[in-house]
Amino acid sequence: MLQRECLAPGVHLNCIPADKFNRCRISLHFRFPASREKATDQALLPLVMDRGYAACPDMTQLSRKLARLYGAALSVETSMQGASRVLSVSITGIKDRFALNGEALTAEYAAIAFGVAFEPYFENGCFSREAVEIEKTTLARQLESEINDKRLYCVRQARRKFFGDSPAGIERDGYLADLPAVTCESLTAVYQEMLRTAQLDVICMGADEAVVRRMILEKLAGIQREPAQLENYLYMPAQPTEHFREEMDLVQAKLCMMFTWNQCAKPEQLNAFRLAMSVFGGSTTSRLFLNVREKQSLCYYCASRFASPTAFMMVDSGVEPANAEKAEQAILKELENLVNGPITEEELENSRRGLLSGMTSVGDSLAGLENWYYNEILRGGVINTPEQAASQLMQVSAEDVRQILAGFRYSVGYLVTKKEEPSHAE
């Protein structure tokens, strides 16, 4: 389904058929090494780029331009992939056939996405000082507000303890303490470095491929490219389990458990990991859902997930403060039971059916298609279609699942819980 074309070193155009959809989508994914030193600049970059570009520098005018295009959605976001950072510029909008006045919408979408990515609004060769200062305030507020979402806060704290100083632990949103030092000059330097060193994947779904190809070549023409070599996989070594506890004013405690696989995950093991997660805690037929949540009523949510670039498994749950320890033991017991006890044919096949169903429906949404194929690209090596992955999934056995789960070592347990009442007056 995916047509991948190398246009220059480290630059690929990826076209995915999207005839059946009402909308089309163009995404530019810049992938480059994450840097602790420049993390806050790299985190601020999407916020400033999202405000406008040379041909439409004003944020409000850009919002209006998108509304004029029948509510086209523009996003500039950053995410972490192991030791790499990805900055993605995406635009999605309705196809030309729905334009009420015959406008050439898809050409406009391409002009906006490439404009935002390659022609930002500069004043005297730099991002606008005013825009940078405003977005620094926004980012500071965002960083300070982390505690408002207790579940996310707990997960992030657990990750911090788990990754420590590893490049995989660099904060996606940067660091509050580094924010004052960010300037329009430093931000511009980080932007230009990204253009120079990033692996660029453009994904085109339902838009004019010839226009997109031409734009890529035009925009890259003036850039001295030196694409960086990126590591796809890493892992955190096993360590004695460390427990952390934080008390605050809340009603439901949050428990996040981090496990390392203690070696890099290999692409060919991916479907065994998928099935292992589904059986352990990634589905409504999983042991964690059925036993810890439903039978023992120890938590409202309790789910496991695995990140292949960094080979870690996370189990996060919302628990009664008094039951936190009991829930932790119950989760560990379920893992042990799967490693040392029987895995029934029924639970294995239920999980497999659920995963197969998900793979079959990847092609039913623009987001599903893009996520699937860009993740395949990120993994490196052969790009599997959902059908090929489904065929590999059929080969995964209960023993494969057991071996995957047996490899996990419990490294960090982070509990955010209710403040204990003081036993005496100070």
């Binding site: 909308r23 409000t60 029948y70 507000s145 408002n148 009523s297 409202y300 919302g318 998900g358």
Partner: protein, 424 residues
């Protein structure tokens, strides 16, 4: 509107609609080229339905029954519905809102079997004292999870301030105390009153045909005749119950909510105008939002929403801000300015354009399509009627609505302060 795009739009919103003899509404959109099917079986029964008459008998419920019932529907005498769906490979879920409860699945294989499970889990209820007690523990955990969410607390705080008696004052899931009062008899009464085909919709979209859906309805042996149910809503004064509520939570930044209580509105056009008003007052395209944002007064999440239910209609403007009083004052001033000067013609046109694009977006995926179909049943109008209503809205109508809506005398304010500031 030009003819060609309108033909494309008509094709995009097309669906097969029929009402069965027993009263069940069936809406199907076959979507060629799609692999999956998304099906929703929904009832007009939500958390605000606390008083009703069924077969001439009056029933009063404690808060949280609709949501509790949703959880219980996954159990039957012959096992858990999740386990049955797992055997077909379908991914199942359910949700309860203020005015509806929906059960749904997505599947790519054994669709007929999944439809059978969906229809039977709702039509063959099974409750005992023991299974009810077990569910109280799980739902208690869910209630506690929402208690820690500032967004949720702002919203429920606003409903509590705006309304004297309307059941929207209650949390959808109820409280630990209210769900402790639930009995099997109450649940059976709800099933009789609201889980009857005349009050329900079966909507499906994707790789499916109407014949498949009708065959499943036939196999399900649904009740032959709709039961007679009469909803009873308490009298609600026009005034707000409370002008202001402030409390503290463990937060980094204060949260502000400003709500406006409105007279009930009816019809697609009126609701579209209300939706537009939230965008025209403080949406991302307005100079007002830009000014708040550039001054660092609000986060990108600041914005408005509109809610209409039986006996309840309100606007909510919410977001994080360091200066809640200042932002509240500026919001009130902006609404007054718009009332006096009228809304900007260009912005109005852009809002219409945007809404049109959003409607098409909502008809693209199987999940969104089935949700849009079911939504049209709950709103009692077709998607075509909604698109036509959008095309016919004029700026003058929006200006007229502003004369009676968003009045300061019918507003309430909720502020959540960070806990540490209280101690400072």
């Amino acid at each position: 509107m030009q003819n060609e795009p309108m033909q494309a739009v008509r094709a995009a919103v097309a669906c097969e609609a029929l009402t069965l003899e027993n009263g069940l509404t069936v809406l199907v959109r076959p979507m060629p080229g799609y692999s999956g099917v998304h099906a929703i079986y929904g009832t007009r029964f939500g958390s605000i339905d606390l008083e009703f008459e069924v077969d001439g008998r009056r029933v009063s419920l404690p808060a949280g029954v609709a949501h509790f019932l949703e959880h219980k529907m996954f159990e039957s005498e012959d096992g858990d519905a999740f386990a049955k769906f797992a055997r077909t490979g379908a991914s199942a879920n359910a949700y309860t809102s203020f005015d509806k409860t929906c059960y749904l699945f997505t599947a790519t294989q054994q669709v007929d079997e999944s439809l059978d499970i969906l229809l039977s889990m709702v039509n063959e209820p099974y409750f005992t004292k023991e299974t009810i007690q077990k569910e109280q523990g799980i739902i208690g955990q869910e209630i506690k999870m929402y208690d820690d969410s500032p967004d949720w607390r702002i919203m429920t705080g606003l409903f509590g301030c705006l309304y004297h008696n309307h059941p929207i004052r209650n949390d959808i899931a109820g409280t630990v105390e209210s769900i402790a009062q639930i009995t099997p008899e109450m649940l059976y009464d709800c099933c009789k009153g609201f889980y009857n085909p005349g009050n329900m919709v079966l909507a499906a979209a994707g790789n499916i045909t109407t014949d498949q859906v009708l065959a499943a309805c036939k196999r399900a042996k649904l009740p032959a005749k709709p039961a007679q149910v009469k909803r009873i809503q308490p009298q609600e004064p026009e005034t707000v119950a409370k002008e202001r509520l402030e409390f503290s939570m463990q937060l980094a930044k204060p949260c502000l909510g400003v709500g406006f209580k409105e007279a009930p509105v009816e019809g697609a056009k009126a609701e579209i105008i209300c939706d537009m008003l939230t965008e025209l007052v403080c949406g991302g395209m307005t100079d007002f939002y830009r000014s708040l944002y550039d001054q660092g007064l609000v986060n990108p999440g600041f914005g408005g929403e509109f809610l209409v239910l039986d006996g309840c209609c309100c606007f909510l403007f919410t977001g994080e801000t360091d200066q809640p009083e200042k932002v509240r004052g500026l919001l009130m001033d902006e609404i007054e300015r718009l009332r006096k000067e009228g809304v900007d013609e260009e912005l109005f046109t852009l809002c219409k354009n945007q809404s049109y694009g959003e409607m098409l977006q909502d008809l693209e995926n199987i999940e969104d399509s089935a949700t849009a179909l079911a939504g049209s049943f709950f709103r009692k109008r077709s998607l075509t009627e909604e698109i036509e209503a959008l095309a016919s809205v004029t700026r003058q109508e929006v200006d007229e609505a502003l004369q009676t809506m968003l009045r300061p005398e019918r507003s309430s304010t909720v502020i959540i302060w960070p806990k540490q500031e209280e101690n400072a």
